[in-house]
Symmetry: C2
Subunit: 580 residues, 2 copies
């Protein structure tokens, strides 16, 4: 399995003992390779591919005849055509049971959620009829149950009622709701088509946990009022009225001009992103449990179409529901057919049964909503976040308290800001560490992690744990110099071990830009004045390329770049100059 | 120098041959250490220190008596008290020559720059009198020449005249200029006091090169008109009038209320940041050439005080000038005393000589300005940026063409956006690589950089080149799985070398958050279903800590985490199961 070892190529990596006995002899050194030069266009193409098409979505189209490509293309847009062919009675049994289960859950939930959104109950029912049908044809998750959800209803209700009073101007309010739904769909489809799905990754897991818990608490608090069920001490409050009949068209109600266009757009973008986040989180969870692939960008296009069509058929923003999807999964759903079953039940309800819900006490709806959302308070997750990562916990709590004590938007803003601050921190203040040799090996590791690691006399070894860009190059330079000063202070007065070499371990430096190169040139100049020689270990492909292109290699000398720290140390140690 | 090798601890790192002969025997494995647990407060303190005080500015105050601390504190604010004590005649000779030189340069430049800012010429002269005196006392650079500069004058002129017409409402315009100057100073001082100086690092070297060149070109084009010097074909245009006398107070002219307060604040922040960037770039360049330390945050406080005082004494935004600082340096300046000399000359000019400048033809001023700014077009730097880094070049050109063809603000915006997009790209799409073994060593390296590296049968080794955070964890997981699929396709049909282990090299993973941990758990689950075992190599201190805290270590097994790839491979290879 291992290639035959070449006896003539005894390297320093082979052991300490061979190194200490071969003092004076020139060690056999492995050159750091410059990767084969790619042409500019090729390089650009690879970057674009990795950024926007990391999943290589066109892979299955490769080397296929034209007619086959067309079929594959249609199947890609409507996955139902693919999985539908292998659909059988056994799967249908699972789907009908789970479909009926989520239908029985969704009708009372919908009526309650409509109240959160300050919309009439029938609009939520419409949202459980058309959207699941479209999702069943276009979606790629087998477990998601589509419809109105608590958090998005609350968000939409808050944002819309900031603009229009839902009691005084109910018609305009509803029109703005459809407008926002339309743009939520457009936002989602656009993100999917332009393969910008990774943008929703910017809401971290911790932020979602805090945000959802906060939303659940504030929804529950709102519902507690209705939970008591007594209004003006005049009897029990009931639903009163639900329109009978299927979704009327609402194409003409969407604002395509005027001042509400901009407002609908803004609210649509925010609620569309949140709906997408919830949908993706659910989709990924179940896909991972059942081990199937979910194409995030395709999923976004599907959800976008769902909401655009929804906005034209009197629906408001639909997405995957946490509570119903979990029930769907546990009831044994097999495919998106369970959504079709649920939709059929809602269809029958809208046609024949809405009058029956008239006398439902709102207290019961409140109870159902509280039970549905209280599961969003995932305190196990919060505890585990606390244990694993304190900054994540701060983001989580920031989102939670922001939503509970300020508003759902402020909570969101806090969570995103803390998450971004963390990334900013990482790119401005990357970690650096001094390395030492682990006894009886030639492995060099962080001396803080491995206290048994020993420093090499006369040499300081520093590793930098990040790409070096304009945002951190000055810090990296100054931090390396400060490590040197710290080490110099420790060996003060000891002429024999005066620091004469500084090795920078560059394994983790994935890339460097021109500002970074400048910083290294300045570092080299500062070291030269101190009489310390700069040595580099293991620069990666992008870095070595730029070190050559910028002529930095000639500044420090080709022979001072090594494949690893062990070989760099083997170069430095025999060259240490003692006090005469 | 090397610790005595322990005969009982023969490791895999010691060579390939020892490994291939010790098949079947349990290899001696080095444990990955969990760093000693720090308490939460300590950890927090270290993070704050590295973020805001990486230069440890209070180091010199340590273990000093109280009275000494007071003196050191005053010296820290006014460095002149420190270097002034060792000032001598020899240094003064250098300073007086360079001071007189830059004075002779600054007076005509100032008159021209005032025109760029649409302000009367005397205001620019005032700016060369008070600000250099304050900077001399508080600044820490020995080479910077302070005063009005071309780019900031142009920026200020553009931004201010967007709000107020400088010809029709000259008095209000001047008041807004003082307001902007005041807030520029406040911005600079605030950044320095709160140690947020690193924010200006977000303007990359490449962006500055492009921005400066663009500004120089557009200033030159503006000046070409004046360069011809003929107005209405009625004779040669001259300066006409400069007020005699020293800076009048302008405290009462600053808008502290009303609609111009907000506008002045906004313009002040933008021009203050640009002024800071120019000052820092110059300061760092000369400090690096003469090898002295420049405290960026202290420098910002100094510049902030300069501009706040300036705004109250009829000055507009002052900063370090590229052209004059270069001349100052080349004329042999030793300390900031050259600024005092220049200031004295301007003082005498304001008192006695302003009438003499009345007949200066503007054509001459235009020529002086063009010569001063044309050096900002650093095409050598642009060429080297092109050679080193293509994305940087795009940022550079974006800034350049933005300034030339749109406006100075749009150019700036383009440059910052491109630079940020790059960081975003790095944190969303980190590099990953498949590793192979370099022949006759136990070093594992990127097979694209080292084509001679050979893959290990039955094992895929992937390294991830970035911290794993919410922004990239999903991508990292899917990219690792895709590497696996690619490798599996290559060995298809070959039962003997079916992939059975996936080693993730984590040296470069500086940190991981809870979203990242979740992604790894999902990765582990996917691999398990494929019958592939996950093995980790060299997780760093922060990562191993979180792998334990999240119980992930128990999920994969403690024995599957190794100090380096060589030991991980030594574990996997004997455990490969062949086809029966």
């Amino acid at each position: 399995m291992d290639p035959p070892a070449d006896e003539n190529l005894e390297t320093e990596e082979m052991g300490v003992r061979s190194m200490s006995t071969s003092h004076g002899q020139a060690p056999h050194v492995h050159k750091v390779r410059i990767p084969p030069r790619q042409n500019l266009f090729k390089e650009f193409q690879v970057t674009i591919q990795e950024t926007f098409f990391p999943d290589d979505p066109l892979r299955c189209f490769k080397d296929q005849p034209k007619s086959r490509k067309l079929i594959l293309g249609i199947e890609a847009i409507f996955p139902i055509l693919k999985w539908g062919r292998s659909y059988d009675l056994k799967k249908f049994r699972g789907d009908i049971i789970s479909g009926l289960t989520i239908a029985s859950l969704c009708i009372p939930q919908d009526i309650g959620y409509a109240k959160l959104a300050h919309l009439p109950p029938q609009n939520a029912l419409y949202t459980s009829f058309i959207p699941p049908l479209i999702y069943a044809a276009m979606g790629s998750s087998r477990d998601i149950a589509i419809g109105p959800v608590a958090v998005v209803s609350l968000l939409l209700g808050t944002l819309l009622s900031n603009e229009i009073d839902p009691d005084k101007h109910a018609a305009e309010y509803k029109r703005l709701a459809f407008t926002a739904t339309f743009f939520a769909g457009i936002t989602q489809a656009t993100l999917g088509i332009f393969r910008l799905g990774f943008l929703i990754d910017f809401l971290s897991h911790a932020a979602i946990v805090g945000f959802m818990a906060g939303a659940a608490i504030s929804i529950s608090l709102q519902q507690l009022k209705g939970f008591l069920g007594i209004k003006n001490k005049q009897g029990v409050e009931i639903v009163r009225h639900i329109d009978k009949g299927l979704n009327p068209s609402s194409v003409k109600e969407i604002y395509f001009s005027g001042e509400y266009l901009g407002k609908g757009l803004r609210i649509g973008i925010v609620s569309g992103m949140i709906a997408l986040t919830e949908n993706t989180a659910i989709g990924r969870t179940f896909a991972s449990v059942k081990d199937y692939q979910l194409d995030g960008n395709k999923e976004m296009v599907a959800l976008g179409v769902v909401n655009v069509v929804g906005s034209m058929t009197s629906c408001y923003v639909a997405t995957g529901s946490f509570s119903r999807s979990a029930v769907n999964f546990m009831a044994g759903c097999q495919t998106a057919v369970s959504n079709i079953v649920m939709s059929t039940v809602v269809f029958l309800t809208l046609l024949f049964m809405t009058p029956l819900f008239k006398y439902t006490p709102t207290a019961i709806l409140s109870t159902i909503i509280i039970f549905a959302v209280i599961n969003l308070v995932d305190y196990h997750a919060a505890i585990s976040i606390w244990k694993i990562d304190k900054i994540d916990f701060v983001a989580c709590m920031g989102a939670f308290f922001g939503v509970v004590f300020a508003s759902i938007e402020i909570g969101l803003l806090i969570a995103i800001s803390i998450s971004f601050a963390r990334i900013l921190l990482q790119v401005t203040r990357p970690r650096t560490a001094v390395l030492g040799k682990i006894p009886s090996t030639s492995v060099y590791r962080n001396i803080q992690q491995y206290p048994e690691a020993s420093k090499v006399a006369g040499v300081v070894i520093v590793r930098v744990d990040s790409a070096i860009y304009f945002s951190n190059s000055n810090y990296v330079k100054e931090r390396i110099l400060r490590w040197l000063v710290d080490e110099e202070e420790q060996v003060k007065g000891d002429y024999h071990t005066k620091i004469q070499f500084l090795i920078v371990e560059m394994s983790a430096v994935a890339d460097i830009d021109t500002t970074g190169i400048r910083a290294f040139k300045e570092l080299q100049r500062s070291l030269e004045m101190k009489g310390v020689k700069l040595v580099l270990a293991n620069p990666g492909p992008a870095v070595i390329d730029k070190l050559y292109a910028s002529n930095f290699v000639n500044m420090i000398g080709k022979d001072r770049i090594f494949i690893n720290v062990a070989e760099a140390v083997a170069y430095c140690s025999p060259r240490l100059v003692g006090d005469p």
